[in-house]
Amino acid sequence: MSQVLSRFTHGGSVRWSVASPICCSVILAGLILLAGCGPSTNRYLLIEQSLLAGDPALAAAIVEQNVKEYGTKSRVLYGMDRGMTLQLAGDYQQSNSVLEQAEEEVERLYTRIIRSETAAFLTNDNALPYEGDAYEHVMINVVKALNYAVQGQIQEALVEARRIDHRLNLLSDKVREGSGYRNDGFARYLSGMLYEADGDLNNAFIAYRNAFDAYEEMRGWSRTPAPPSLRADLLRTTDALHLTAEFQRYRQAFPDVAWEPVTTQEQLAQVVLISYNGRAPRKEDIYLDLPISLDALQLVLLNRGLSQSRQRWNRGTDTVLYGLSGQVVRVALPRLVPQKTQVPSESMTLTDLSGRPVAVRSEPALNVTALAEKSLADRMPLITAKALARAATKFALAEGATRGAQQAAGKDAAPWVGLLVGLLTKGLAVASEEADKRSWQTLPDEIHVARAWVAPGQYQVSIQPSGHGNEAQLLTLAPGQTTFLIQRVMQ
């Protein structure tokens, strides 16, 4: 290689074209080195194993140990993963602290850095700082609100409810009606529960109504209808606020829903179970190898056949093959792989000191996989256009470098120099192509909610199927008190 370089630098009149291919190669190589920020499969595998083993503290520690692997480009993702695992480990204060930092980072990333954008255009989107999807931003506030609620700090949880409202209002201004994620039924439903826990029935009603409207609006793709308990909430709050017209409308819309008036429930205590079930979808690459000659087409088909027989992509082989061919342009796009929960619902039983049980079933309140799929589908046209433009640019740069090197090398050395530089630059162009597979993978697949109103007193709580976070809890409930419980079910 040093011989090739010294030969190039001895060229006289072709000095610019000599420096140019070398520079292009250096740029490509450098950018690839800088862009190596893709998510690690092992990291999430270890986290999931820890959660499966019922050791969320270890999961939180794994996230913390991998802080360097997340890197500066994935500070938001690190905060989200760490915040979530710390919540499951019961360290709610620390969880809120890191999630607050993640939220501040999201705000900071509003300003796009042109240097990062250029690097990403020449390599892949992993060179960009991870901003997170809109639904993930809302989930940051949801997880924070739950952290405060579990600690009984309803006033602080309401700060998060207000932030959720602001965030969703901004989103609904930005996203056209009926075209994407612009509202969040679960986030608004949780806000309603928090306002009601604080005794603010007016704001609770507004949040419940917004939640119901959001569930209806998202019904086409969210795979989650409005939970029956939300319908009872609407009837109860409209009745208590003497909103006669609204009450009649909801009564007609939900004739079968059983509900109790506020005057009855004020004397009772409420237990809210939030169950995180399953695992959020992960992302993987789909490679589109675009041949620009018949020979290249045959090569792609042959390589595809071999890859299918191997059941996996081999990026090293692809890099060498396509680099040698010089006639294949690779485009990488992300694809979601769902990891669905096997638990359709939970049963929460509260048993008082006399052994009398009160049992309620949980209802699905949020399908995170559906949100992730919608979010990716909405962004896919832009991701594809960017990937195609990037692939074309990388190919043109590699082609320019190869031809420049051939010219500089002179007639005798041109063929092998062209082959070498082509292999290097086009191979690098193929090797550097990778989809941005980052996402908040420590989220669950679904969130279920169960709510029980019981007379004040002491209760033993049991949940089936049981996950981590609710082991044989004994609760002492006061009149009007709302207690939040969180559990994680990995199945």
């Binding site: 010294s6 190039f8 630098t9 001895h10 006289g12 000095r15 000599v18 420096a19 070398i22 520079c23 250096v26 740029i27 450098g30 950018l31 800088l34 607050e100 501040e104 705000e107 509003y110 300003t111 796009r112 850095i113 042109i114 240097r115 006033q155 602080e156 309401l158 700060v159 207000r162 932030r163 602001h166 901004l170 201004d173």
Partner: protein, 203 residues
């Protein structure tokens, strides 16, 4: 040889350009505690201090404070109730309350007594004294000073945001309530408006 060097320099320049921007430095500067430092647009120490000073000034100018000593021949005793955070931020309300207490106490026109949160600790200490301290140094129970007024309030925000520009409107409301008659003798209000602009692109 010169051209060789130039080529090398060019490559080195490319590499330096790529690796530039990775470093960072921490710079610490001591500033006066009274200096206004608006960094993020959120509620900060300057807001807390400025609102407290302004509210106290307003409270002291109103006649309720003059009327009380004339009738009772002593300073009014005030206890701080709840200052509710109805905002979009996790504001440390205690800092704001301490600012208010300090300003009002230093005015020497009002006496403050311990609020609900502090009283428990003090009562526990008195119980401990009754058991463990010398008799002549023990503080007897039932000699607390009852408050004449309770100061309550709220901090609320209204947000408006579009295209990277955010307008934050803070409204702080405080009221002094006569504990005997429930009459509101003073109502103070302070508003702050901030505009935070974020650039969409940067180099």
């Amino acid at each position: 040889m010169i051209q060789n060097t130039r080529g090398g320099l060019r490559i080195a320049a490319c590499a330096v350009l790529l690796l530039s921007g990775c470093g960072h430095e921490t710079k610490v500067t001591r500033v006066d505690a009274g200096l206004v430092t608006d960094l993020s647009g959120r509620w900060n120490d300057s807001d807390s201090r400025m609102v407290a000073e302004s509210m106290v000034k307003e409270a002291l100018e109103y006649p309720w404070l003059g009327n009380f000593p004339q009738v009772n021949r002593r300073q009014p005793v005030v206890v701080v109730g709840t200052v509710l955070n109805n905002s979009h931020e996790h504001i440390n309300v205690q800092t704001f309350i301490t600012d208010l207490e300090r300003e009002l106490t230093n005015s020497q026109k009002v006496t403050f007594v311990a609020g609900k949160g502090e009283r428990d600790e003090i009562r526990t200490e008195r119980k401990e004294q009754a058991m463990h301290a010398r008799e002549e140094t023990q503080k007897a129970p039932g000699k607390e000073t009852g408050a004449d007024y309770m100061m309550k309030g709220s901090i609320a925000t209204i947000l408006d945001e579009a295209d990277g520009t955010k307008a934050i409107f803070y409204q702080v409301d405080l009221q002094m309530i006569d504990l005997e008659s429930n009459v509101k003798v003073w109502f103070g209000q302070k508003k702050i408006k901030k505009v935070v602009e974020k650039k969409r692109t940067s180099f």
